[in-house]
């Protein structure tokens, strides 16, 4: 499989807290990579480093390299804003823009980046909502506030919003952890659908979820990458004792 992204000795700090202690990892194209590990192991920080979202918080620091499209994302020449257009993100808690309608939420990324052509916007909104499996539910009320949707719908709206600007990769930071089981399974189905089009990195605290949808799974512990392998292999016969302990519920 083709390589999409590679990190090299990626380290991250939050204040004086050393969160990532040197991660070397490869993310493959058009696949789903799940990242699992106990709370505080650095899995969220890791994905936030991939599209330079870690640095929007005060007092944070990143070292190391993230290779994407032949360039280091952290290169001096690179504007993080451009990177984030190519590497989208979906957050733990659905965060549609409260002041915007459903339509405007999906179109936000395009509009705010200077696209005003109605035809393109309409097309992009419909396509993104269809891909997020939300179109049929909202097509008659695109002018309603994004906040009028249920939690699961809001999260799919956020996925549609991320898809609208056509990123290469979508990072998902525990996208289903705030949702009920039915909404969760919707999201899971959706993620599997999407991998034909985009590369997906999904952080999850739910091991069954990783087992169900991921092509490869990475296990993080205390800021280190313990093991990264095909999901089946990881769950059947992990190489590392710590991975086995975690998967069998001995800690975490």
């Amino acid at each position: 499989m083709a390589k999409e992204m590679r990190t090299e000795k990626l380290q991250a700090w939050y204040g004086s807290l050393h969160i990532l202690k040197g991660i070397d990892m490869v993310i493959e194209k058009n696949s789903i990579t799940a990242i699992i590990g106990p709370s505080g192991c650095g899995k969220s920080t890791f994905v936030r480093c991939l599209n330079r979202m870690h640095e929007v918080v005060d007092g944070t620091k990143v070292e190391g390299k993230v290779w994407f499209e032949g360039q280091d994302v952290y290169d001096q020449q690179i504007d993080p804003v451009d990177i984030r257009r190519k590497i989208g993100m979906v957050f733990q808690k659905p965060n549609p823009f409260p002041t915007m309608s459903i339509y405007d939420n999906v179109a936000a990324g395009l509009k705010l980046n200077g696209i005003r052509n109605k035809k393109i916007l309409n097309e992009a909104v419909e396509r993104s909502l269809r891909m997020a499996a939300l179109w049929d539910e909202v097509k008659d009320r695109l002018n309603y506030s994004g906040m009028s949707l249920s939690g699961g719908q809001q999260q799919r709206l956020c996925i549609a919003r991320a898809l609208a600007i056509q990123p290469e990769i979508i990072l998902m930071d525990e996208p289903a952890s705030a949702l009920d089981p039915i909404s969760t399974s919707h999201i899971e189905d959706l993620v599997v659908e999407l991998k034909n089009e985009v590369t997906i990195v999904i952080v999850t605290h739910n091991m069954q979820q990783a087992a169900r949808i991921a092509d490869t799974t990475a296990f993080f512990l205390n800021g280190n990458l313990v093991e990264h392998d095909k999901t089946d292999k990881m769950f059947m016969s992990p190489c590392d004792k710590r991975t086995e302990d975690y998967l069998t519920g001995r800690f975490g």
Partner: protein
């Protein structure tokens, strides 16, 4: 804490509790009665002075009947407009810097401290400063100097309230915008500020209400006149200064007009306040 229970007898403790509740209710009544009295009395004394001429005519000299305070009403509107044009952008933009770019750090603490200090400076002192800066060098009183004095009063009110409101904007929606590759400045303009609009408008309206009734600095800057103002580089009348002038006079007709002007002013100020607070009350309904 246990000693309370062990040492004292229950009947007396309950009595003290009731007594203090009674006292506190009494004190609350004592605090609210003046509001009702002031509003009621101003309406009672002011209404008879109100008629069409009162809003549209100029003041007349002692002895002549009729006339109005039309120029003061327009004057107050002009002064408030000048103050708003200068004060609101400074207040809001400085708050944007503090909240969005540098929430922590020595410079921001310093700005916050200065804003607090400015909130506490007596308005008459701001008037002296405005006089020294905008009146003395030009040799004459002017509407513009009055407006700038009021702007000095408005900046900290608007700045402080805007910063408080921006702090309430959830970080998740800022991150949502960053993750779409929206630059920070655009995120502020198109996502953060629209979210906070109602709260900012509330702060602005409270600031406007505050300066609309302000008198002391105007005595040293806008001074007052009895004509329709045509030039903001000349003295200008205002409602509060007109009230002051009439109230000091020994003429019943003028005092009557002072009450009328007071009624106009209090309606203006309280309306702004009520609207502002109603807006804020609804804020969390559509955005939770």
């Amino acid at each position: 804490m246990t000693d309370i229970i062990l040492k004292s007898n229950l009947g007396r403790r309950k009595f003290v509790n009731r007594l203090m509740l009674g006292i506190v209710i009494l004190l609350t009544a004592l605090a609210i009665i003046p509001l009702i009295c002031i509003v009621g009395y101003i309406i009672y004394k002011g209404l008879p002075a109100i008629n069409w001429d009162f809003f549209t005519k100029l003041p007349v000299p002692v002895g002549e009947s009729g006339g109005g305070i039309g120029n003061s009403i327009i004057g107050t509107l002009i002064l408030v407009a000048i103050a708003s044009v200068v004060g609101i952008p400074i207040g809001i933009l400085s708050a944007v810097y503090l909240s969005e770019y540098k929430p922590a750090g020595a410079f921001s603490s310093c700005v916050r401290f200065v804003v607090d200090v400015m909130l506490g400076i007596p308005s008459i002192v701001l008037g002296i400063f405005a006089y020294l800066t905008f009146v003395k060098p030009f040799g004459h009183f002017s509407a513009i100097s009055g407006g700038l004095a009021l702007a000095l009063l408005m900046i900290p009110i608007v700045g402080r309230s805007t910063e408080e409101i921006l702090k309430l904007v959830p970080n998740t929606i800022r991150e949502g915008a960053y993750a779409l590759g929206v630059p920070k400045w655009k995120t502020i303009l198109r996502i953060v500020l629209p979210y906070a609009t109602k709260g900012i408008v509330t702060g602005v309206m409270l600031g406007v209400a505050r300066v609309a009734g302000e008198t002391a600095p105007l005595l040293l800057t806008a001074f007052g006149n009895h004509f329709w103002s045509k030039n903001i580089n000349e003295p200008i009348a205002s409602l509060p200064a007109q009230i002051f002038e009439y109230a000091k006079s020994p003429f019943d007709d003028w005092i009557q007009k002072a009450w009328g002007a007071a009624l106009v002013l209090i309606v203006l100020v309280l309306t702004l306040n009520v609207i502002a607070r109603v807006i804020t009350r609804g804020r969390f309904k559509n955005a939770s």
